[in-house]
């Protein structure tokens, strides 16, 4: 089975208080030098059958209508090496 990964991130102009909370915690934990953190979502889809253009088009549609809310989020779709 092939794996397709959909990464969803808030658009750059949208305030991400969760990412900010993580970023603020870093120096306290001794991790310095991180100027900004943005928090997103990763979906790993195990695809039954071939990951051809048609399958990718369906996944793209799925990401656009459901996995991401394109009013506030961007997404990327990538195929992972099958093991």
């Amino acid at each position: 089975m092939a794996r397709v990964v959909v990464d969803v991130m808030l658009k750059p102009e949208i305030l991400d208080p969760q990412g900010q909370a993580v970023q603020r915690a870093l120096p306290r934990l001794g991790f310095d030098g991180i100027a900004d953190v943005r928090q997103g979502k990763r979906f790993e889809l195990e695809v039954a059958g071939p990951v051809d253009d048609a399958a990718l088009a369906r996944i793209h549609e799925m990401a656009e209508t459901f996995l991401a809310n394109t009013v506030i989020e961007d997404f990327t779709v990538k195929v992972e090496e099958s093991k």
């Binding site: 102009e13 949208i14 305030l15 208080p17 969760q18 459901f66 996995l67 809310n69 009013v71 506030i72």
Partner: protein, 234 residues
């Protein structure tokens, strides 16, 4: 004939009972609707109640938006049926694109629960006709994902078309309940669609319809009497 107002229950909805009671107190016939039913049982209007439908997994309101009952509600709302989305219901309406923009986690990342002061910005919707534009009301607010966002163009359009229905009151004599509770852009607490039949807001009018509970006031009752009057006169 009695006016029938439906209240949808999704898995995780919390405020359906209060909404049904508010409908009854206003003088209409409350009708329970189940998320798996496509049939709206001949209701004249629908309330999407607050809560955490589907646990707010993925995004608040995102999974409910694709439920069978919403398929029918989306069609009917586009055809003019009045729909009120309260809190989680507002989130569902933005996810369904019946209302523009989106709802995000509160800017301070805390769940917030308080009596909130609002200004009713328009009486030209199906759910606000019993208020006057500019009227100040106080109703409970309780949410985790209450931050309204939209791009600048959409915000300008909403303002220009008079579609910002409710705003959090920024200042006042009393400190209690004033101020923007979640970082919503332009202090927006609720909006309406172009036709005025679909309205969404974060605070909870259904919890302020009896003097004995909630805020001790009945500032929320106007939502339910507004729709009743509209439907009776229709």
């Amino acid at each position: 004939m009695t006016t029938r107002i439906g209240v949808v229950t999704f898995p995780g909805t919390l405020d359906d009972r209060d909404s049904l009671r508010a409908v009854r107190i206003a003088g209409a016939e409350p009708v329970s609707l189940w998320h798996r039913d496509k049939d709206l049982k001949q209701v004249d209007a629908v309330v999407l109640a607050g809560g955490f439908s589907y646990g707010d997994y993925l995004r608040a309101g995102a999974i409910s938006r694709f439920s069978p009952v919403m398929e029918t509600i989306i069609d009917q709302a586009k055809a003019g049926m009045p729909v009120l989305g309260i809190c989680n219901g507002f989130q569902v309406l933005t996810e369904a694109h019946l209302l523009p923009g989106a709802m995000l986690r509160n800017n301070h990342l805390h769940f917030i629960c308080r009596d909130q002061r609002l200004r009713v910005e328009t009486d030209k919707t199906a759910w606000t006709a019993d208020y006057t534009a500019g009227q100040e009301i106080q109703i409970p607010l309780k949410n985790m994902d209450g931050r309204y966002v939209a791009d600048e163009r959409t915000l300008d359009m909403l303002e220009a078309e008079g579609r910002v229905a409710f705003r959090y009151l920024a200042r006042g004599e009393a400190a209690d309940g004033y101020g923007n509770p979640n970082g919503s852009l332009r202090d927006i607490a609720g909006i309406t669609n172009e036709a005025g039949n679909v309205v969404g807001l974060m605070p909870h009018p259904e919890h302020a319809v009896e003097p004995l509970v909630g805020t001790g006031r009945t500032d929320g009752l106007g939502f339910f009497t507004s729709i009743l009057k509209k439907l009776v006169n229709a």
